[in-house]
């Protein structure tokens, strides 16, 4: 109790690095928007179709986020309190959809939920009405598919952050599952869920390809899609900038709102590595098994379907594809390292309690339109550097920035715990600078760093958005995939999708695993 006052952290030199990174991020995102608006000589008015897109965007994002968060709870709880062989591997595997390149994921979802998919064939055989994956329900389905893993992961981390001692205390007090839920789990969920919901909401706010492939038509147009269309159809940069501004405004409003409902809970850290609580027996064992099994089927089946479709043509892929794969891997690694450096700087500054604006700036990329960002950078830099030379470095930079918010979701709580537990001790021992990084921060945050780095690498691997704008003669792997599809080579495209997926997954696994072993 009284020791709590000492945990408040030291009033030291301001965490300049964090403020700098946050400032640069905000300047970059708002600056590129301004550059686009400047090129267009002002913002253009939005028409009724744009406002319709805004409404649809908000609606689908809110629903997708709520569903993802709610469905993630039983899965995370089951994973937190059950131990079974292969659990670690399953936790990693369940993360797969989030890092799947969107185009690959859509292929998988269609293979399972499409008109010709297994589910509808079964329904047809049973004489039941079919389920259409095209339309708003397809958009929601895909968003839950993408974001359930992130939600499970974040909630699971919250669960594991409850010290084992608390559960032992609960046991010793004779708590039943309901009591445990009320006193330990619900407070944790209250603290974690708003953040989870917000994260998914923001991801879905900028959804693009999903809406365009599964939306069924223009009634499922999102704002990001409208931005793309403003670029492509009318080359209307003014409208693109206006839409970009609306998108950021919506997200900031959502973040402001979520700040008010988020109830921070401080969990002390036990010295022992948390070994999860023993789960309750009885029917709850079956219920947990069911939750895990359903999630596994939902999340892994599409992945397996894509694999099965693409594997046969894999050996026949031409060398150019492998070359593009190598280029993509190197770019993904560079993105990951950059994202880690930026993310860690921000998380440490936030953990030291440097104003909410740093956290807001760190989350800003999630709401920024990559298209506006890329175009703005292009406009700003074209007079200085040959644009061909820019394509790959800028793609690396933008991918790192785009991955930042996801990494931060994992890094910030861990950095806060680190600061609360060891900040004062490290300060009193004059442990700072590179030594603090090496001896305290990196070892303690290794799991979260691995997770964040893996996310950044995988997301960077699958990205397509920005690179098409910066025309290049050095195609990345996703670009190769599109080239194959654009040349009727659908079988090879499927194989390329498998390769892309396998590499994304391998990168994530290596980082995540490395972080947890460190």
């Amino acid at each position: 109790m009284a020791a709590g006052i000492l945990a408040l952290g030291a009033p030291r030199v301001p965490a300049l690095g964090g403020a700098l990174v946050a400032g640069a991020l905000a300047a970059l995102i708002m600056g590129t928007l301004a550059a686009v608006a400047w090129q267009a000589q002002g913002l253009a008015a939005l028409g009724p179709w744009d406002w319709r897109a805004v409404r649809f965007t908000l609606w689908q994002a809110a629903l997708s986020a709520a569903l993802s968060a709610v469905l993630a709870i039983p899965v995370a709880r089951a994973l937190a309190r059950r131990r079974f062989p292969g659990r670690g591997a399953l936790v990693t595997l369940l993360g797969a959809p989030f890092i799947l390149p969107v185009i690959v994921a859509i292929m998988g979802l269609i293979a399972v939920f499409g008109r010709n998919g297994v589910i509808n064939e079964t329904l047809r055989a049973a004489g039941l009405p079919e389920f259409s994956v095209y339309g708003w329900q397809g958009v929601i389905l895909a968003h839950v598919f993408f974001n359930l893993p992130l939600s499970v992961r974040l909630i699971l981390q919250g669960w594991q952050a409850i010290p084992a001692e608390r559960f032992r205390l609960a046991d010793s007090l004779g708590f039943g599952p309901a009591d445990t839920a009320r006193h330990l789990e619900r407070p944790m969920l209250r603290a974690v869920l708003p953040g989870v919901w917000l994260a998914v909401f923001l991801v879905c706010l900028t959804s693009f390809t999903v809406a365009l492939a599964l939306g069924g038509g223009p009634s499922a147009t999102t704002v990001e899609l409208a931005i793309y269309q403003a670029f492509r159809f009318d080359f209307d940069l003014g409208r693109a900038a206006a839409l970009g501004l609306v998108q950021i405004g919506l997200s900031l409003a959502a973040m402001g709102l979520a700040r008010r409902i988020a109830i921070p809970a401080a969990f002390g850290a036990g010295l022992q590595a948390a070994r999860g609580p023993a789960g309750p027996r009885g029917w709850r064992v079956a219920a947990d098994a069911m939750a895990i099994a359903l999630a596994a089927v939902f999340l892994l089946w599409p992945v397996l379907a894509v694999t099965a479709a693409g594997l046969p043509a894999l050996p026949a892929l031409p060398p150019e594809v492998w070359q593009a794969a190598l280029r993509s891997v190197l770019m993904a690694l560079a993105s990951a390292l950059l994202a880690l450096a930026l993310g860690l700087t921000l998380a440490l500054a936030i953990a030291r309690g440097r104003g909410g604006w740093i956290e807001a700036a760190g989350m800003l990329p999630i709401v920024a339109s990559p298209l506006v960002l890329g175009t703005g950078l292009f406009i700003l830099l074209r007079g200085w550097v040959a644009t061909d030379m820019l394509a790959l470095p800028l793609t690396v930079l933008i991918n790192a920035i785009m991955a930042l918010p996801f990494g931060l979701r994992a890094l910030i709580p861990a950095a806060r715990t680190l600061q609360a537990d060891f900040g004062r001790l490290a300060d009193s021992l004059d442990l700072r600078g590179p030594a603090r990084l090496r001896l305290l921060v990196l070892p303690r945050l290794a799991p979260q760093l691995g997770f964040s780095g893996g996310l950044a690498a995988a997301l960077g691997m699958g990205d397509l958005g920005v690179i098409t704008l910066f025309a290049t003669d050095s195609p990345t792997l996703p670009l190769k995939l599109y080239q194959l599809m654009g040349s009727y080579r659908m079988a090879e495209a499927s194989a390329c999708a498998v390769l892309l997926m396998a590499i994304s997954f391998a990168l994530f696994w290596l980082f995540d695993r490395g972080g947890r072993l460190a």
């Binding site: 670029f231 690694l333 025309a471 003669d473 040349s487």
Partner: protein, 327 residues
């Protein structure tokens, strides 16, 4: 190790500045320059006599060009679509191609002094006869078909083929276009961003018909020995599409650029098109087309809206389209 590899990979992205040969920079659409498109053969063919290095730079060419303006590094722009020429022309970036366009093998008259067509085809709904036994035989038949006949189309705001469909419906139905869309909309399974996603869904068996090209079946016949894919030919007409090349007025390689433009309509170039681009050559007598292209059923009627018509109709047509899908 990593430290050395990353700069290497980035280097691989930079133009081959070390070469002494002059470089002709060609902005091209994504599918053109891949090893599966016509790009490599075009590059090889041109470099065989130009004593230069032809470099394809791929991406969203028109937005990029409009942003770069006269400062663009492009010498040639390759792969613009007929429906977007108005905007490209208005940029004032292009120089006349200087070619004789009298004897083109196009179904429409062509007298554009700026943009030079190098291939063409028509939009068409493609189906698989093993899955669709009674395909509609006319556009009206398609509109009358039961709503469980599912088609996939592309978004006109992000795809040239989607835009072509918009103009196709406008050209075929005129003022009745809104009604046509109202009847077509329930059959649209989904609208995708580009042609690739649509065609992928079609080959996966998701849709009965896909908005594609009259020449699409040729790929399946020639490359896969698959004769089950057909383009439905409608008596109302198919909508004409061509891909165009243009030279940039501010080029620093005017001679090379002109040499490239001069080469486009020659047989050496045109013979590459059918089996690499899976479309029809712009200037090649029909008897010199590959057999597979000659065997394809040709539409009796070709629809095409001129640049000015297309430009004046597209906003209205887009609005009609949006309305049809927003009921």
């Amino acid at each position: 190790m990593m430290r050395h590899l990353i700069p290497l990979a980035l280097l691989a992205a930079t133009p081959a500045v070390a070469q002494e040969k002059p470089v002709l920079t060609v902005y091209a659409g994504e599918s053109v320059a891949s090893e599966w498109g016509p790009g490599p053969k075009i590059e090889e063919g041109f470099e065989a006599f130009c004593a230069c290095d032809l470099r394809f730079v791929t991406g969203d060419i028109l937005p990029r060009l409009l942003m770069e303006g006269a400062a663009t590094e492009a010498d040639i722009v390759f792969g613009l679509n007929t429906d977007v020429t108005a905007r490209a022309r208005a940029s004032g970036l292009f120089a006349p191609h200087g070619q004789d366009v009298s004897g083109l093998s196009l179904p429409i008259a062509w007298d554009d002094p700026i943009f030079l067509p190098y291939n063409w085809g028509e939009t068409a709904f493609v189906y698989d006869e093993t899955r669709l036994e009674n395909p509609p035989t006319s556009f009206a038949g398609l509109l009358d078909a039961p709503d469980d006949l599912k088609i996939v189309i592309q978004d006109p705001r992000s795809s040239v083929s989607g835009l072509a469909l918009l103009l196709w419906v406008k050209a075929a139905f005129g003022d009745a276009a809104p009604e046509a869309w109202a009847r077509l909309a329930p059959k649209v399974l989904t609208v995708t961003k580009g042609w690739s996603e649509s065609y992928g869904m079609f080959t996966e068996g998701e849709a009965d018909m896909v908005l594609s090209y009259t020449t699409s079946p040729a790929y399946h016949i020639a490359a896969e020995n698959d004769t089950t894919k057909h383009a439905a030919i409608f008596p109302e007409g198919q909508y004409f599409m061509a891909e165009l090349a243009g030279q940039i007025a501010s080029t620093d390689q005017p001679l090379l650029a002109q040499a490239f433009m001069d080469w486009i309509l020659t047989p050496g170039f045109q013979e590459v098109i059918p089996l690499a681009n899976w479309s029809l050559p712009a200037k090649l007598p029909q008897e010199q087309w590959p057999q597979v292209m000659r065997d394809l059923p040709r539409p009796e009627k070709t629809l095409f809206l001129s640049e000015t018509e297309a430009q004046s109709l597209r906003d209205e047509a887009l609005d009609e389209w949006l309305r049809a899908f927003s009921r």
